[in-house]
């Protein structure tokens, strides 16, 4: 790792870890959850509010920002931190996942991917070198390798995609020049244990300053996801941060931290908020229900977020039913708080060496509340 980055484990409890990942824009206390600001903005939440939520790191997306406003615009405006007014760490996803999920793929070969923009249909090419170049323009603290994201159940596609993802990881590493950015590798392999193990070993060997597990929470079974995490974690170095991409929910985060994950990101908190849903400690509720019409309680009884401290379910239901702009804002604040606060509680338990108790009691309560694990 360069002098700009270091990862120090402060406590290990079972497989769970509490650490500090130091970046040019300050430390990230792990485990933690990164709110997603796909287009250089967390939907409906200001940076001031994100600071109040104790968000330590935000995620933005290479694919979206390359298309609009263009990475050279952001570079000219002083880089992503200045542009979006966030002076703490930022991570940019490489665009791999988005090219495959949002763009219209015209062609994939070993060189790269030709795709059509989801905005205006214009044609573009992403190569590993270009994805790194764009991310260097954007200037995030953590940047990601460009990877291919196949259907997790398609064995032969996973085999060919994995060879490519591995070759691209090497090319990303060779193309990357900015010393004030940490390039993370990504483990792929679908739901296939042997491919996942091979990928974890290969990526670990490339000695990136951090490693991610990609291609999960994309439609596979919960049990398959947990099995893959258990398998992959064993082969990822202990002294580097481990990032589980695109996950998720309160239960997934508890499961992930328990297994040794340090960093999570997901659009869930803000996306669910725009669909009238609020996280509870174990699941979620849709606040538009008639039963909340005169409910004076907060979304979650003991929640310390701005929304729960100040507004009733009755009011939030009214906002949702009235299509008020304030509805997704207040629900996003709550949902983000719940996940960030959960990682912070897990961190405290790890530091105190009580993670087993914490997890048992969490699972016990989840079961009592009707959630299966």
């Amino acid at each position: 790792m360069t002098r700009h980055f270091s990862f120090d484990l402060q406590a290990v409890d079972g497989n769970a870890r509490a650490g500090v990942f130091s970046t040019p824009h300050g430390p990230i206390l792990t485990p933690t959850f990164a709110p997603v600001g796909t287009q250089a903005a967390v939907k409906g939440v200001t940076p001031a509010q994100l600071n109040e939520l104790n968000a330590q790191i935000l995620l933005a997306n290479t694919y979206h920002l390359y298309l609009r406003p263009g990475s050279e615009v952001i570079a000219e405006m002083g880089g992503l931190h200045t542009f979006m007014n966030w002076d703490k760490p930022i991570l940019t996803d490489s665009g791999g996942f988005q090219v495959f999920s949002l763009g219209k793929i015209n062609d994939i070969d070993d060189q790269g991917v030709t795709f059509k923009s989801h905005i205006d249909g214009s044609s573009h090419v992403f190569t590993p070198e270009k994805a790194v170049k764009i991310q260097e323009h954007l200037g995030a603290d953590i940047i990601m390798c460009f990877d291919e994201c196949p259907d997790p159940y398609d064995r032969s596609y996973n085999e060919s995609a994995l060879s490519r993802t591995h070759a691209w990881a090497k090319r990303c590493q060779e193309a990357h020049t900015r010393k004030d950015q940490a390039l993370f590798g990504i483990v792929q392999g679908g739901i296939f244990p042997d491919l996942r193990v091979h990928s974890a070993q290969y990526i670990a060997e490339l000695d990136f300053p951090g490693n991610a597990i990609g291609g999960l929470s994309v439609g596979e079974k919960k049990s398959e996801m947990l099995e893959i995490i258990d398998l992959v974690i064993k082969h990822l170095p202990e002294n580097k941060p481990r990032y589980l991409m695109g996950v998720g929910t309160p239960l997934d985060i508890v499961q992930g931290v328990y297994r040794g994950i340090d960093l999570f990101d997901c659009v869930n908190p803000t996306r669910l908020a725009r669909h009238k849903s609020a996280f509870t400690r174990y699941g979620r509720i849709n606040i538009s229900g008639k039963k909340y019409e005169k409910d004076p309680m907060p979304l979650v009884e003991d929640c310390s977020c701005y929304t729960c401290q100040n507004f009733s379910r009755s009011y939030l239901r009214h906002l949702v039913k009235s299509n008020e702009l304030l509805a997704p804002i207040l629900l996003s604040i709550h949902n983000l708080h719940l996940l960030i606060n959960l990682t912070s509680e897990l961190r405290s338990a790890i530091m105190a060496g009580t993670i087993s108790d914490y997890i048992s009691s969490y699972f016990e309560n989840a079961k009592n509340n009707g959630f299966s694990l």
Copy 2:
């Protein structure tokens, strides 16, 4: 005025006044601008942000809240202040304007108005007594008489509507029982000077704790609006607050304060924000213009609002072009700040006895910036 309310003039400079209107939820330093939270929410702005903006009073709407969620729901939840988490003064409009502009009128007679809901087409009747009753349920500090709002240029309609509005004002006064609410009268009369003078005299005589000028900024010429304000003000008591309803823009507010108005409200700041527009000191700009693509300046150079202190025009344009939820939020914060801050500057000038200098220099600068007065 009851013991719950008092209006103290602290300084008078020409026709302009600086005062303190005391209410059960605290004092309002006048002149000031009230952000509008039609459905018990200022669109896209949290109460915490409104406090940061130094908003002293919010407006909500009887028509909307009666239809959804229903005034009895709000009453059961502890009243409007608790429901929307705003412990400073609130004013509710009577629904008169909305019944005429949003509802489908089925019938108007001396008794009241039968209309169809703009939400589900259901049929409802508003009478002066009912409008007061609903506002008593909602529990705002300042409530408004139920009035008829005709086309400002229709002479004969204005004559008949005015008799009704005057009779309804008396009936509102008789129906009103809550001593912790101040019921304000409303002067109507379209663009007709004689009707306006008659109305001002009539309403003044009823001795409400405050008086409003309604039916302006609804399509009449700017010069007509100013002429009416000048005329009406002469007949409104000096020792009561004067409220210019539904106005407006930076220039209108300067003109109004100069003429002796104490309170303004308007949906403009948040509505314009949702249409990509930002107030400048004299007019406004549409931030979606290509010329802002790489503009590192804030919306308004010397503006102290959160948006201008932290974000460039380039970033705001990106948000607008990307349909990000953060766009109307940041533009609303700026627009509200600009109007509230303007009233605060005007207040300081009145207190200092320099309102003439302030106004001359404001108009001079406005002219130099290409705005006609």
